[in-house]
Symmetry: C2
């Protein structure tokens, strides 16, 4: 068993309303950042786990995304980075 640190990026699916992003864009305008055109807010999740090898660690992480971390209706996820620690 080795320990892996895996970073996952979860983003609102394109074309789906992103109310949090809209709110942040409006707040930035209010603060004077008039050049802001659009904002999207997603999550950056780092999971540390034990696994026999890297493919196994990635596969477990994908299952975690499908079962808990990402909303399958409104969000996309991708594994951004894998590192053995």
């Amino acid at each position: 068993m080795s320990r892996y640190r895996i970073a996952v990026r979860i983003t609102p699916r394109r074309g789906i309303l992103d109310p949090q992003g809209q709110t942040v864009a409006e707040a930035l305008h209010t603060l004077g950042f008039a050049s802001v055109r659009d904002v999207h807010v997603g999550r950056h999740i780092v999971v540390e786990l034990d696994a026999p090898d890297r493919p196994n660690a990635e596969q477990s992480t994908r299952e975690m995304c499908e079962r808990l971390l990402a909303n399958p209706v409104t969000e996309d996820f991708e594994i951004a980075h894998v590192e053995a620690t």
Copy 2:
């Protein structure tokens, strides 16, 4: 003026309690992912903005992080990706 798409990663500062990460780790254990050792939850924010050039776009984004997007007491931010669109 050009349009830039800038991705920012905002993460809980190391050593600071991350209750959201702990909750997610416990939920993953409950679901049977017993090999999970630690979870950290941060944000992945994509800002689209108009700027005269890339350094200017990055500088504006850093100011947005300092003034609104990141909590200066508990979070760190870094610019993960810059792309002219």
